[in-house]
Symmetry: C2
Subunit: 430 residues, 2 copies
């Protein structure tokens, strides 16, 4: 009997989830994919649609002073201490439907499932649908979670919108956010009452596809060292007329630097440390470059990420050491812009263990991996809230309409969170 | 007595040359440097000004069917067999005044010097001031010398002007060129009567500056292998979320290729072969690239030059071998555009020897070097005309207003040609 009940449940969940994903994709469609700008009418309408769906299922819905929507079972609405489950509803321009939204729907499914099936949570649960997380609209990322915890910085508040150029804080005011509190760096919620923060998110890389697994427990969110533009300055010259000994070729100098970093990356991995390294943008000056001209300079970006601050420090040292060596060897100069540093955010070890335990109980192969992309979870973790994350298998990467998540994978991943929320843990997180 | 006479001569030459360079720079000035477009009114006016200066000095001036100006002593005007000295009068946009023009004035100085000083040439001498040589205006280079020798190809004839888009052949017709002959690939001159072709040109690299020498004899003009755009195709992904093992990063693949070619270049030089290698243009797609995105592709150019066809062949093989290795190793694909190949053009060994002998007789340190840039001389050499070139020391490279040639260096270099033209050589070139 249990098996058939389970099948019925799953059918219900599948229908519920598919309907919400499809309806929101339809309401927020762009010429390609979806566009749900941070702090926009479209975002507000998306929250209102979720509110209606939640009320239809007998859930309570309230809004905080950041105009994020909170959902809960009626009996938990006034709970002082609670486990928080959630993610964001905004998307990048012409993005995919699942990045962010999947984490909100995972929380809603847990609430509805608890109510429909009468399965009690071990502690009160609240679900949050946050606004702007994507950096694509204003530059800063994790806007809503930072505002919620009182850490959205003045420089971030005044960041101009990529379209109309008006500052973020103005757009926040338009959607009804208590911008006085945001400006005063006053938390909109007392995070000491959040027993744990859980977020489900599509994986933005290929690991789960490669490993043929539906879901993973996240160990932490990689921190990063970023340079938007490192310039290598050499000396221009005729491509045919300058012998090697008299060249100060910035392109070959950059190639050597990237190649040396690539080799060091391999060594760091062989030592068992975590690291990824990317040069996403590079180019000679299209105004002056030519086939038969040694360029005078070349610019390139670097994005180095690791779960381990030590590995980031090691790579930073290597970068500057190698650059100095090449400068001397080739008579060029590397000009570094200001480094943007984001510290790694570790998930709570107890939560990682409990989520892995839940995976095992659900007969899923337990798998723990780092998150390469940043998430709202990092803001909660860095504020001291015990944090856990679940990744769902996803083809096609993220931030593009090609995102591809199977609903069955989503339900398996959501099942881990539901199992966690409903099982008794002896662990005291705070 | 001889020393003081020499000083007076030099003073005369200095004044004559400086006046012509200055006047032509003034007449063809652009907002920066000079612009003397190929097959333009400005080019025609430059030839007319030279014609007037030559007539003032008692020289004969005629135009060929390519509307290039020919100068000679009256007694040599009808000579059947002759040594030809010359270069081009056009310039790149906002270029320097000396590239091309110096070679024409060197020839004129020789004629005027012979006439003023009564020093006879050992064989008749004609001086040619050619039109378009620079590729900047239409794409093809060496236009006038190719048309002169009947080798300007149909594709080159129809190349559109970078400004008005009209084909080269139309611009040639406007200046009075016999375009019927050009179209028919009929030589405008019988090159079998050219006993030797000599061209003086500013050096476009730093060798003479570094060596502290005023002039050099050129051994030959480097040929080249060129690719305007090689694309490396990889796979886009999130900079933080894709582990190294699952990456197909085109930028790191390109960096490895350039680094390997750079190392091979060094090995080839250590073997004593001649080679230069340049990646002048490279870039990720500015529409789609981002700091936190592994790019799906990167494009780059390659310009590989050598005096030795064998070294070019070796480097071509290495390029494709290394690319194949990296493709397999990294799961990327290199897409090569069509290779543009220009064969090396060797200067005549006898002329190189005679010019070096002239240097020694003039108490200059003899120095022989390859030319990295292409010149009209290559067209004559490849047509079978025994060819020689002299380089003049020049700071600031070429094709820019920063070209910087000392008149005293120019006169030393011109002295080599004059010495060559007036000395008896037992050598029979043809």
């Amino acid at each position: 009997m249990k098996a058939s009940v389970r099948t019925n449940e799953q059918k219900w969940e599948e229908g519920f989830v598919a309907r919400l994903f499809e309806e929101i994709a339809r309401r927020t469609a762009d010429d390609q994919g979806v566009s749900r700008p941070a702090y926009s009418e479209i975002e507000t309408e998306t929250l209102k649609y979720l509110e209606q769906c939640a009320r239809d299922e007998g859930l309570d819905v309230v809004y905080d002073r950041g105009r994020n929507a909170w959902f809960s079972l009626p009996e938990d609405t006034d709970a002082e201490d609670y486990v928080l489950v959630g993610s964001h509803v905004d998307s990048v321009p012409r993005g995919g439907n699942f990045d962010g939204l999947a984490g909100v729907l995972a929380g809603l499914v847990c609430l509805v499932k608890s109510r429909r099936e009468g399965r009690k949570f071990s502690r009160p649960v609240k679900v949050i649908a946050m606004r702007g997380e994507e950096s694509a609209w204003f530059g800063p990322c994790y806007i809503a979670s930072k505002a919620l915890l009182g850490v959205l910085e003045p420089g971030e508040q005044s960041a101009p919108h990529k379209g109309d150029g008006r500052p973020l804080i103005g757009h926040m005011a338009d959607t009804g956010v208590d911008v006085g509190a945001v400006r005063g760096a006053n938390p909109l919620v007392d995070h000491r009452h959040i027993l744990a923060y859980l977020e489900l998110h599509i994986e933005q890389g290929p690991m789960l596809v490669e490993k043929q697994l539906a879901a993973a427990v996240v160990s932490g969110i990689r921190g990063n060292i970023r340079h938007k533009r490192i310039a290598c300055i050499g000396e221009a010259g005729h491509s045919g007329a300058v012998p090697r000994a008299y060249r100060h070729d910035p392109v070959l100098a950059m190639a050597e630097l990237l190649n040396r970093l690539d080799e060091s990356w391999l060594t760091i991995l062989q030592k068992g440390d975590d690291l990824v390294l990317t040069c996403g943008m590079l180019g000679t000056d299209s105004e002056t470059h030519a086939l038969s001209r040694i360029p005078d300079s070349v610019g390139f970006s670097l994005d180095i990420r690791s779960q381990d601050t030590g590995a980031l420090d090691e790579m930073r040292d290597l970068l500057h050491q190698e650059a100095r060596y090449i400068e001397t060897d080739r008579g060029v100069k590397f000009q570094f812009d200001d480094e943007i540093f984001t510290a790694p955010a570790l998930c709570d070890e107890g939560i990682v263990e409990d989520l892995t335990g839940a995976q095992i109980r659900l007969c899923q192969k337990p798998f723990v991996m780092p998150s390469g992309g940043g998430h709202d979870a990092a803001v909660f973790a860095n504020a001291g809230v015990p944090t856990g994350m679940i990744f769902v298998r996803n083809r096609g990467g993220s931030h593009n309409p090609g995102e591809s998540m199977e609903i069955s994978d989503f339900l398996q991943a959501t099942g881990i969170i539901f199992e966690y929320l409903t099982s008794q843990s002896d662990r005291i997180y705070r």
